[in-house]
């Protein structure tokens, strides 16, 4: 394939292979999930959630006000005091196993719904988001009755009520990352999904009902940032937030001096470092996975490519050819590689930063792919001649936009990779193990992927250093966020 002229490859047409939207079993309206029941907001407020691929409304969803958040926290508190804290580890474990199974059983529905609401390709929601969400429940199910052995001393206690705020890039998966360890450790939860992607979490709430999880152990309050702010202001024992560094700082400031536990999983500006001895074809796939996976709406995206000067030309040549092959379009089409940008606001932000990229003198390469007329789309884009001072090298674009920088020595690669206030994830590509470990040791990042990128597993701790936040999700380490230790 690689030896064929690009024009031949792009001439190959695929027939559409769309998944049926009906599988999602969309309803016209969705309520809040409080005390085990779906309810309307106290003041009856609702908002619309759109399909970002078509700009068509999908459903109306209840907008939680302060009173609703207070009610949800009270329900979680009651459930904690009356039921959940008295539930034994083995019982909690079995509830979580049930939830994992139910997610698997309804996986197709969840995947289609996720792609409709979020805009991500069905291939990703089907093969990654939903299976990993189930895997997280499976993993933490097994911890619920083994907390004494988790390394935090004998008989570690839960914190109480956890307020959890999650982003729109992996709605169901982030809900699983938050709920599974919290419940395993014996906490009750009030979860606030992102405004633009509430639907899959509400189906998860239905699953919790089907699992007969006691009422109030998990509550879901949908709505905009005001619902999240109300949750942070409420008398919860713990706040867990995944989202932007900007909002994370506001939350940390609001909780200052309050004694509420906090974990933050914030933004990133991941460096993907390519050494001259790395196998170029694998590298190119890794770069593409690193930045174009999930439209680049990934906090740990490999958004800065650091490539060793001696191979830069070759890598970039092959990268452009590969980027040209990415199929951008209908998220429900199983052939689609890159789906829709999640919202008009996000699209605007990506455009603003890429305009700055050109204005500041970087060279822009945009995939010539055709984009649908309706919906929010952004063609895969690669900037070369990027300086470390450029906004596209410093700020999180959160879109399918790669900034390429070069280096000569491992020291220079490390210095450039660390030249950011973030520290979430980095990639290292080299066949030389000793060099990879040398670099990994020096990178200020919570996760380092060597000869791979964007891998996730419930057993592997994930989270950042510096302004990418604190606390870990996944693995034994993920329990610490929900235990009083």
């Amino acid at each position: 394939m690689d030896d064929r002229p690009a024009s031949t490859v792009s001439a190959l047409e695929y027939d559409p292979a769309p998944e049926s939207a009906a599988v999602a079993r969309l309803r016209e309206s969705y309520g809040l999930f409080v005390g085990g029941a779906f309810v309307e907001a106290a003041d009856g407020a609702t908002f619309e959630t759109l399909n970002p691929a078509t700009e068509e409304p999908l459903a109306r969803v209840a907008q939680a006000g302060e009173a609703d958040v207070v009610a949800a926290v009270a329900a979680a508190r009651r459930a904690y005091d009356k039921v959940w804290r008295k539930t034994t580890g083995p019982q909690r474990s079995k509830y979580l196993f049930r939830i994992a199974r139910l997610i698997q059983e309804r996986s197709r529905e969840l995947a289609v719904l996720e792609s409709l609401d979020n805009g991500k390709p069905i291939r990703e929601s089907r093969d990654l988001d939903v299976p990993l969400a189930a895997a997280h429940f499976f993993y933490y199910a097994g911890w619920a009755d083994k907390l004494d052995h988790a390394g935090f001393g004998p008989d570690p206690r839960p914190l109480g009520v956890a307020g959890q705020i999650i982003p729109w890039n992996f709605p169901l998966l982030m809900a699983a990352w938050k709920l599974a360890p919290a419940l395993a450790a014996g906490n009750t939860c009030v979860l606030k999904p992102a405004e633009t992607t509430p639907l899959s979490v509400l189906v998860l709430a239905e699953i919790l009902q089907q699992a007969e999880l006691p009422d109030g152990v998990v509550n879901v309050v949908t709505g905009d940032g005001s619902a999240g702010a109300a949750l942070v202001a409420s008398p919860v024992d713990k706040v867990a937030f995944t989202g932007s560094t900007e909002v994370g700082k506001v939350i940390q400031r609001r909780l200052a001096g309050r004694g509420t536990r906090l974990t933050l999983e914030l933004g990133g500006k991941g460096a993907n470092i390519v050494f001259d001895d790395a196998p170029i074809d694998e590298v190119v796939e890794g770069i593409v996975d690193g930045i174009f996976f999930n439209q680049g709406h990934v906090c740990c995206a490999g958004s800065r490519l650091l490539v060793q000067e001696s191979v830069a030309e070759e890598v970039l040549h092959r990268l452009r050819r590969r980027v040209d092959q990415l199929r951008v379009g209908d998220p429900l089409d199983k052939n689609t590689d890159v789906g829709a940008i999640n919202s008009a606001a996000q699209l605007e932000k990506i455009r603003e930063l890429t305009d700055w990229g050109e204005r500041e003198g970087a060279t822009r390469y945009t995939s010539p792919c055709a984009l649908p007329e309706r919906g929010y789309w952004f063609a895969p884009t690669v900037f070369t001649e990027v300086a470390q001072t450029h906004r596209i090298a410093r700020e999180e674009v959160f879109g399918p936009v790669l900034s390429v920088l070069t280096f000569r020595t491992p020291e220079e690669a490390v210095a450039k990779a660390n030249n950011t206030t973030y520290g979430l994830a980095c990639g290292v590509w080299s066949e030389k193990g000793s060099r990879t470990l040398w670099v990994a040791e020096r990178l200020r990042a919570g996760v380092v992927w060597a000869n791979t990128y964007n891998r996730f597993d419930p057993a592997s701790p994930f989270g950042g250093v510096r302004e990418s936040g604190f606390g870990r999700e996944g693995g034994r380490h993920g329990l610490e966020a929900y235990l009083d230790v």
Binding site: A135, G151, F152, G153, T245, G248, K249, Q252, R253, L255, A256, G257, R258, G259, L264, L266, T421, G433, T436, L437, A440, A445, G446, V447, V448, W449, A450, N451, T452, R455, D457, A459, S460, P461, F462, G463, V465, R466, E467, S468, G469, F470, R472, G475, R476, H477, E480, V485
Partner: protein, 283 residues
């Protein structure tokens, strides 16, 4: 025959392995628990705090790059130094805290034992807090605890040595560099500890000790961009809230209160980051 005139000591700051007076030239008076004059100590300025953070940042790399067992030996050496000067420490702890001699000696003894405890942790913490993670797929995946970096410590205001030792030894054991603000009114044992650290092969700058007004210095430390962690043990509730809010501006990790008698690993876990590496497995 005239009585010998004693040589009085000037208590200075410890910054980057050197003992400067405050760059501001200021000092303030320290009295004992009964209000009697003890000494003049240097009153650090904001600039001294910033200098100490710079020294700590540069020392942290060298401190962390030592072999873990070597770091353990350095902390044990510090315990040896403290033991040799236990009488002096006990006298100053007793005066500062108004303790009887026996109580002061016991407190110093516990402080030294705590140093020994942490010395032993240096080369064990990675195994206890780290892991190899059983992920799906052909990957070798492991997590190791790495230091947050530079940790600011507000020493307890009442416990002049014991709480301080606990607060500085834990982050040092995990490879951090420390800038400690001594108890405002009882700083002398902290200064002595700093002096001992300078003869313990501790990397210069890995521990910095400042004396002065907590209300003036702590906000500079808390809001400093290059401070990665903050132990607010010695701050009153109101000040602690204010400092935690300043720390939020750069997502600084904040520890609020940990009992020095507590044998949990809370302090060791407070200022480490879990770094996880995935490496492909293949032929």
């Amino acid at each position: 025959m005239s009585e010998r005139l004693d040589v009085r000591k000037t208590y200075k700051l410890l910054v980057g392995g050197a003992f400067p007076r405050s760059e501001s030239g200021r000092s303030y008076e320290i009295v004992d628990a009964k209000g009697r004059f003890l000494a003049n100590v240097a009153q650090a300025s904001r600039k001294d705090v910033r200098d100490a953070v710079v020294a700590a940042r540069s020392a942290q790399r060298a401190w962390w790059s030592l072999a873990p067992s070597n770091r353990g030996q350095v902390l044990y050496r510090l315990a040896e130094m403290a033991e040799a000067r236990a009488g002096e420490l006990a006298e100053q702890v007793g005066r500062a805290e108004g303790l009887r001699a026996g109580e002061a000696r016991a407190s110093v003894g516990r402080s030294i034992d705590r140093l020994v405890w942490y010395a032993g942790w240096c080369d064990k913490v990675a195994q206890v807090l780290g892991s190899q993670n059983p992920v799906a797929g052909p990957y070798f995946n492991f997590s190791v605890p790495v230091p947050s970096g530079v940790v600011g410590v507000l020493a307890d205001q009442a416990s002049s040595l014991e709480a301080l030792v606990d607060a500085v030894a834990a982050p040092l054991a995990t490879g951090n560099a420390v800038v400690a603000l001594a108890s405002e009114t009882r700083p002398i044992p902290a200064v002595l500890l700093g002096e001992m650290s300078a003869t313990s092969d501790l990397v210069p700058g890995a521990l910095n000790v400042l004396t002065g007004r907590t209300g003036e210095l702590a906000p500079v430390l808390a809001s400093h961009e290059d401070v990665d962690g903050l132990d607010l043990g010695g701050a009153e509730d109101d000040l602690a809230g204010e400092l935690a809010a300043l720390a939020a501006e750069t997502v600084t990790r904040v520890l609020r209160g940990a009992d020095p008698r507590d044998r949990s690993l809370k302090r060791l876990r407070a200022f480490v980051e879990t770094s996880t590496v995935w490496h492909t497995i293949g032929q």
